[in-house]
Every structure is written in C-alpha cells, then in structure tokens.
C-alpha cells in the first residue's frame, strides 16, 4: 500500500512540479509571482483542444501549434499588462496578475462553457505492474518531461549567454542594463517561454483533471505550494517541492484523512516558511541597510 501511495504521490507531484516551472521562471527573471499562470495554461489547453476537435489536427501537431500560440500569448501579456507595472510595488503586480486570472477564467467560461470534457493522453494508455505497484506510461512520461524541462532550463541558466542575461536581470535591473542586456526583451521572452511551459503543463495535466475553466484551480495552488517549498527561485526546487507535496499529500490521504490533505499541505508550507522563509532550496536574501 505505502509503495503505491508513494508512486501515486510522485505522479501527482510531477504534475505540480510541471505547473510550477513556469511560475519559477517568471519569478527568477522578473521578480513577479504570476497568479494567472494556471489560467494561462488553461487557455492554451483549450486552444489545443480546439485544434484537436474542431480542426481535427493530429495530437502532436495541435500540441506544437498551441505552444507557438502560447509563446506569442505570453509575450503579449508581458508587453501589454506587465511592462507598465515593472517598477510598481509588489502589491500592484500581484493584483494585476489576479485581475488577469479572473479575466482569463471568465473569458474561457464564456467561450467554451463549464462542462468538463475529456482530453486525450500524450501516449497510448498502458500501465505496468511491478510487485503490486501500478504505474502508467503517461505518469512516467510526465515525470520525464518535467525533469528534462527542469534540467534544460537549469543548464540554460548556468551556461548560456541569454540564460546569464536572464539571471542578471533578476538580480539587478539597473546593473543588467548597464551591462548592455536588453532587460525588457529578456522579460518579454521569459513570459513567452513561461507560457509555453504552462501550455505543456496544461496539455499534460488535462487528461487527469479534465478540461474546463476551473481545471487548474487545485493544481495551480499546489504548484504554488511546490514552488514555495522549493524556494521559488530554484528550478530543481520545483521538482523537489512538487514531489514532496505529492507524496506528503498521498500519505496524509492514505493514513490520516483524505479530506484534510490540503490543510496539511498548507500547514506544511506555513511551517517551512516559518523555519526557512526562503524555502528548502531558496537563495538567501540578505537585508541591505
């Protein structure tokens, strides 16, 4: 039983981690927590679904097409909404992303309605049994995709020039500008890439949560939890946080109470923040006087 719970937890956890990657990317470069990340992912998933069902395109074609749209969409959101508040107080930025969250959700409801629909899985549905533990090929796929994306971005940040630029702009906008980095174009591209990550997350999550405007509600919140737990600036932290939350939640549901599992997760977050305000793998923030 415990083995299967852990596998189930890891599977759920990799969904959270996947959804958290985009959040972290934006926070890392532009110091903004995007509360609309989940809803952006949901919109892109709907677009992908439209390609699939209305224009009857094959799965991977509609997948790729919707990611292209995601990139443009993400950049547009940054240009139109986020750029004007780049220097505004944190609260204004938070509220703005909440406004976007509401609008995206409302618009999706108006366009596509609220009746949940099924979404096809990336790979044919197959599962393996091993010493009484069952795992599906799609669960493995999601885990692998998440890890690859995380590693890819991790290396990208560490070793490429653009990655360095993105990191630099997160450290200090003024200095980055002095170094000749086009901070604003870095931000715009970051949002584009984050939207792509969101799109991937949405499309892979939709078969599990089913597709409707509220689909990212729970996963989105757990993604925040994962990001916070991991430190919010650390890409590997997202995976650690996500998996930790997935397993923790599974164990609580299995052995304590399935109704209180979220409460325990929230308590865990508050506890972690209290003990180590920057999360498990977060960078230390020193107060400047």
């Amino acid at each position: 039983m415990a083995g299967q719970i852990i596998i189930g937890g890891l599977a759920a956890g990799s969904l959270y981690a996947l959804a958290a990657l985009g959040l972290i990317l934006i926070f890392k470069t532009s110091d903004i927590v995007n509360f609309a990340q989940g809803e952006m992912a949901m919109l892109i998933t709907f677009i992908s679904f439209t390609f699939l069902t209305v224009t009857k395109l094959p799965y991977f074609v509609s997948f790729l097409l919707s990611l292209v749209i995601a990139f443009i969409f993400g950049m547009a959101v940054e240009r139109i909404f986020m750029r004007p508040v780049q220097k505004a107080p944190i609260l204004n930025q938070i509220i703005l992303t909440f406004g976007l969250y509401m609008v995206f959700r409302g618009v999706a409801g108006i366009i596509w309605g609220y009746t949940p629909v099924g979404f096809p899985e990336a790979l044919p549905n197959k599962h393996f049994n091993y010493v009484g533990i069952t795992i599906t090929i799609n669960q493995i796929f999601i885990f692998v995709v998440t890890t690859i994306l995380m590693l890819g971005f991790y290396l990208f940040f560490k070793h490429t020039k653009i990655g360095l630029a993105m990191r630099a702009s997160s450290q200090n906008i003024a200095t980055a500008k002095l170094m000749g980095i086009g901070v604003s174009s870095v931000f715009t591209r970051t949002w584009g890439i984050s939207a792509i990550l969101g799109g991937i997350a949405g499309i892979l999550i939709a078969p599990v949560t089913f597709l409707d405007p509220n689909m990212m509600g729970e996963v989105g919140i757990k993604a925040f939890a994962a990001a916070i737990l991991g430190g919010f600036t650390s890409l590997p932290g997202a995976i650690v946080g996500g998996l930790l939350i997935g397993v923790f939640e599974g164990l609580i549901a299995g052995y304590v109470s399935s109704e209180l599992k979220s409460v325990f997760v929230f308590a865990l977050i508050i506890l972690v923040l209290y003990v180590k305000p920057t999360g498990i793998l977060g960078e230390k923030i020193t107060k400047k006087v």
Binding site: Q4, G113, S258
Partner: protein, 408 residues
Amino acid sequence: MRKWLVNSLIMIICLVLAACGGTNSSTTSTKNAKEKSSVKNSQGVTDDEILIGGWVPQSGPAAQWGILAEVYQSYFNKVNADGGVNGRKLKYIAIDDEYQPSKTVAAAKKLVEQEKVFAILGTTGTAHNKAVKPYLTQKGIPVVAVASGDSAFVKPAVKNYFALQTNYDIEARIFSTYANKELKAKSVGIFYQNDDYGIVYRDAAVEELNKLGIKVAAQESYNPTDVDFSAQALSMKKASPDVVFLFASPKPAASFLKEFDKIGGSAERMLTYTSADSTMIDLAGADVMEGVLSTTWVKSLKDKDNPLIKEYVDQISKDIPKQDPNSVFMRSAWAYAQVLVEGLKRSGDNLTWENFIKQMETLKDWDGSLAYNVTYTSDYRYGQTSVKISQFKGGELVDISDVIKYEP
C-alpha cells in the same frame, strides 16, 4: 470647499442612482401586484405573460450547472412557440449567484421582491437552497423542482415546495437494496464527496446497509476540488468490497474509476444518477465505464419514437447545439420545466399561488414529462420516487429494468 462639495455630490449621485432604479420599480410594481391580487392573480402574471425566475451558478466553482438555465429557457421557447400557457407567454429570469449562499439570498429577494416572479424554478445548491428556504417559505411563493435531492425540501412537506429529482436518501437505499437482492453483495465500499450532497448519500447508505446486514468495507471521501484520487482508489481496492457505491460528481467519479481500474480494482460499481450520463464516457472512457450501474429518473433518449423525447431532442439541438442532449443535467432540467408548466396549465386563468399549489397537488402518477409518475399531495412532495436501473454498455447508458417505485 466647493471642490469637495462637488466630489461628495458625485458620490451621492452614484449611490442614489443605484438605489433609485429599485425605488421606482419597487413602488410601482407593489401597486401593480396589489391591484392584481385584489383582482385575481398573484405577482408576476399579466394578461400575456407569466414571469418565472431562479438562480443558477453561471460562474465560480459550480458553473457547470449553468446549463440548467439554458434548458429552462429552451423549454419555455418551445412552449411559447406553441402559443404559451393559456395564451400567456413564459418569461424566464436567471440570476447568477456564483454558488455563494449570501448571493443566493440576494437573488431570492431580488426575484421575489424586485422582479416579482410568479414562481421559482429549478434552483441549485443544497446549502444555497437551504439558506433561502425560511425566507421563501415565509413568502409562500411556489418553489418548483429544487435542483437538489436533499430531504430538507420534502421532509416534512412544505406548502410551497415541490421537489422532483430523485431524493438522495432514497437513491442510496435503492442502491443498497439492489446490491443486496440482485448483486448478492456481502460487502460494500462507499466513495463519496465530502459535502452536504455526498454525506447525505453516505449516511443513508450506511444505515440501509446495516439494516440489510451488509458490511460497509470502506468509506472513502474526497473534497470537491481534489484532483488526485489514487489514495482513495488504493484504500478501496485494499478493502476489496463486492460493490462500490460512488456518490460523487462527474469529474471525481471519472478520475476515481480510472484510477481504480488502473490499479486492478474489481467490483460492481454503482454511480449516482447525478453523474451518470454520456459525460462519464467522455471523461473516463468507455472501457472503464463498462458495466457501471446507475439509476435514472428521466427517460432515456433511446426511445426515439416517444414524442416527449422527440420534442426534447429537436428543441435542444436547435437552442443549445453545442451540448450533447443526452446529458442528465439537461434532461432533468427539461423535466423540471415541464412539471412547472403542467402546474400552470392546470391552474388555468386562476393564477394565484394558492390555486397553483392546489393544482400541483392534482398531479397523480403523471407521465407527461421526461420523469416517471410525477405525484404531489399535500404531504408528499418528493415528486417522484420512480427510477429505472441503468447500466453503461458499449459506451452508452441503457436502462436494464422496468420502473421501480420506491415507497418512502
């Protein structure tokens, strides 16, 4: 000094404007209503119109039920196209309460006092309906087909309340009886939603199963927003009951069944009627759904020659082409509206609340709607307790029994 006067004036005007719209309409319509009731009819009735209202969540966590309002409107369109009810056209007002009880209270007051509707139709949410029940009872406005199977609206019977959909408590008992008699179950596992809806089911099932001497092997619950059900599926499999009762809304039920199937759980599965429709095939897949049992209280679309079915399918495909008419929500909503309109028809030109309620009580095993055997008396307000057992077979939900009438 002058500046703030101007500012304050603007603010006042804003406030007053909002209030005034209501003042005018409220005073005038109070007069109208008084005139009419002294003449004959209750509020919301004019010579060529009957006003019907209700609240339905059209945004927020339960927005999927917003479709009900569209179905009511669709049915009224059909009735109006056929000449209305005794020459009066039906007008329907839906209010979005966002599934928030405090807004439901506002909606109820608005419908009764501002919009002055004649009757309230098919309103959602157990907690939400409960929140306004004292108010609506005190007003005495007919409330037809509360879209909740909670016993609070039928037990004890309330003069102005008419339920219709199968009572949750009763369905749980039907499940238990069926598991006992037909499936020869020794043990049952229950998967339920941890809210007013799921818990009612669970309590009734546990009570009935104990009475029948069947072991309740597992009780697994979840919160309505949950997405991961692997732990529950696992515990259920471990308890290995003969039958699993699913008292869950479509998304969680589908996820759970998928998960249960994946880890190799095997049991007869019985799914509450509120979720049992074609959506489940879409969400969980036909393979997973194969063999799942349920009950239906609205007629199946299989019987295409039935004129009741034909008019439903025709009208819905015209008004709401995007949706699959097979949806249980939509068929239920159609039935709600049918029962209301039947009551109106029987009331003839005497459209008072008093008479409407009297006429509703003349419905006896009425089979003119999508529901079976609708009946109301002064102390029986269930509407119907007649269901057919149905089963998912080859990607379709088909009825496998005759009408079973349960006596509460």
